[in-house]
Subunit: 345 residues, 3 copies
């Protein structure tokens, strides 16, 4: 996290491993969108959809692909992947507060906890017995680290995160505020006869691999007998619910408000669109994409894009379609009948 | 916040600016629904649907429109907007605990923070460097106020709220427990080839205008380059997710469990129904209403009501309709064919 | 909560009230699924779907129904309800940290709070005035207990739970981290003319009966005038939103990500599937089951299973069906017309 540093284009070209075409002495103090950029700001063209915005941009320089380079007459940094280069550039211009290694006096850290080098423990953090915290870990204020939790090196827990006992995180894991990892999976021997349900204590835990990010307010439940597993590089947005015994494959993207029921296995490089869901005990193959607010109601064995639901309409028209949806089986049968009778003629 | 005070109807008529028709000495100690009210309680008729409950009500007085006044023979307070008058009356009978201005000894407030008059900082609150807190602000126990946050006057943060660095709130903003404002937007340069995704650090923040309310467990992410903006008077219910770079127009109502993807602009006076959603990078016009659990899958340019999904049915019948939905294109084509062939005859 | 204890099958048969068929001296140190079990582990067959896994299981013993007993030649514990017996067995092998009764020195407990016997108050917990805490209650670190809250005996609040003022919990209630009980219901007299909305202060509270469990990040709002009520034995999963004035009937199961709008009454022994919802001011009868991500859009008076939405499809095919859905009223009318004209022939 760097503060208020300016870079010349020559410096940026070097740090980002890009080819400079333009004035190397030009100073850049920040990043902006094509339309929002002003003097001293660097922008980027990552999608040809925005190419018309180039001509109106006041950016001092643009990260751009070679093939579009002649569309911009100003300073440019040539990149084969402008969005990746832009993402790398955000690390240079980030002004978020730098952690101050050390243990805040108001934190409660159990004597048996093992802390690595350069660890930052914020105010009111609670670290229970037998916790193991790797080098360079930052734990935000008010977070709770349950007994026997393991945090790999360089993990970043923001404020008010909760990790139940025995949860383990790999290296470079980021957990945002309000997230809860390792709460009890939803397991009961339900009684429907007036007697009490019996709680199935959840004896497994949650294992999260390296480079995973978990968004604000997301929840990942501990397994009933075995662990819930989040594989390497999975990115989970806000308010996602992952139930017990799930396994989310490496590098899969889980957008906001997704709900995954128990014992679901999702493959690698999948994309669960915002608000989508999956019913329990199914398997989703690698490289499956599920569109926003779609429900996966049985296993998917082939890669590809999947959807459920209907498109939005004016409510007055939607009502008519919806009523007809209820008659759909009858409509189909009547059509069949008509085909038969017409055929007979 | 007033404790256990009784009001005569004469007093209520004056405070609420209503016309009294009845016994001005009648003492009122609380509010209740028409069906739940007993002696000493004030009720209201805000919707003619409930007019049949009038005759059975045991309320000591009713807030009612002139046009329905002859339907209630008891004490009445005549209002042109009974629901608004009722809302105002709730402020008189609220018994919620009054804040006790001062800084709780267990709070950690950075020396550089600037606090206004009559500020209440609860137990275990953390206030980071360069925070600016307006007059009369109340911060509930366990809340975290990140570096350089600004809170306008009379803001109310309930317990266990998290505000990341640089977030700014206008005056009279209410944030409920568990809400997280300013967590990182979900931005990555994703790699689908086995290499690591690159995180796009989120350099913008969140700006919330005056009179906004944010419900429990809701999350509003910081912008990637520019700020996520919530305009004046927006009311956001619980467990809502608003992604980075969104702009929610003034006075819009966002019901519970709504999910808004990134870079969505919603107009003024919209209503996003419970559990509804919007895909990313679209614009929704002013005065659009989206019904519960509907997905807005492209921009909407005209005011009005919109819906998606289907009506609930018995599952056995729904299954038949759902299977037919999968055949719908074929059904439509066969119908067309039949029309053609019949026409030919 | 028991630590690392082994049991012989004779002991297990006695504790679980099951009939042993096999080697009573066989030592069991843990539980596992049929496929995951190794020597020293006990498994169970609760569903005949898994009967083929029996032959390959390395479990040292199986909890099994009499009627399937001949399918397993090893040690067995005969149960009329293997899943219930398994649930009971999880209590024997749980290794979660045992609470340590007492008040953590960093907790802030108001002098007027009344605490029962053997209460555990974790680090940084805040207990406000006039709170009443029953015997054996455990409150996790960072939780906030508002003024005049009542907690029945043996309640378990995990870390970072928030209870607003006046909330009452029966006995044996479990609340997971991040849950917020008693935040303001979403009530406003909305103005659509440029004036300010008027907040309806929420004067009711939340009453939760015995044996209820509330999952991580779930929210239950306080009532506007009367209380929101969760009846006995209701089990609520993670990230559920229950709005003001709802009543959830005894023993009903509310799966993850469910959203219930205001003033909904749900009967006893219902199951709200994951991500399902209900619009406001409706009543759902006893023993209704709503499938995953279905919306209940009007009252349901008969027990049974209900669904809405559509099945997932490949997106390319789904698009065709979705466009046809928009034409559905026209399709139905054209079919009718065709039937008429054909009939006339």
């Amino acid at each position: 996290m760097t503060h208020n540093k300016n870079y010349t284009l020559t410096e940026l070209a070097e740090v980002l491993s890009l080819t400079l075409d333009g004035d190397g002495q030009c100073e850049i103090h920040g990043l902006a969108t094509l339309s929002g950029a002003g003097p001293g700001q660097l922008s980027f063209l990552s999608n040809s959809v925005y190419i018309d915005q180039l001509v109106k941009s006041n950016a001092s320089a643009i990260i751009i692909e070679e093939k579009f380079a002649d569309r911009w007459s100003g300073n440019k940094l040539i990149s084969s992947s402008p969005y990746v280069s832009f993402a790398q550039a955000t690390q240079l211009f980030d002004k978020s507060p730098a952690p101050k290694p050390g243990i805040h006096p108001s934190a409660s850290v159990d004597d048996t906890a093992v802390l690595g080098e350069s660890v930052t423990i914020g105010a009111n953090v609670v670290v229970e017995a037998n916790v193991n915290i790797g080098d360079g870990v930052v734990v935000g204020a008010g977070s709770y680290i349950g007994e026997s939790v393991t945090l790999g090196s360089a993990c970043r827990l923001h404020s008010n995160v909760t990790l139940y006992h025995d949860v383990s995180l790999g290296a470079n894991v980021i957990i945002h505020s309000g997230a809860v990892i390792g709460a009890d999976g939803f397991g009961f021997a339900f009684a429907f006869d007036g007697s009490k349900s019996v709680k199935v204590l959840q004896l497994g835990s949650v294992r999260i691999a390296d480079d995973v990010e978990v968004g604000a307010g997301s929840t990942i439940d501990r397994g009933a007998l075995e662990d819930t597993v989040i594989e390497q590089g999975v990115k989970i947005d806000n308010q996602v619910q992952i139930a017990h015994n799930c396994r989310i494959g490496a590098h899969t993207i889980v957008c906001g408000c997704v709900g995954i029921a128990g014992s679901v296995t999702i493959g690698k490089y999948c994309i669960m669109g915002g608000g989508s869901g999956a019913v329990g005990h199914i398997t989703i193959a690698d490289r499956v994409q599920v569109s926003a607010m779609s429900l996966v109601s049985k296993s998917i064995s082939e890669p590809g894009m999947y959807s459920s639901g209907t498109l939005h309409m004016k409510t007055s028209e939607w009502k008519r379609s919806s009523v007809r949806f209820q008659q759909l089986d009858s409509i189909a049968k009547r059509l069949k009948e008509l085909e038969r009778s017409t055929d007979k003629d």
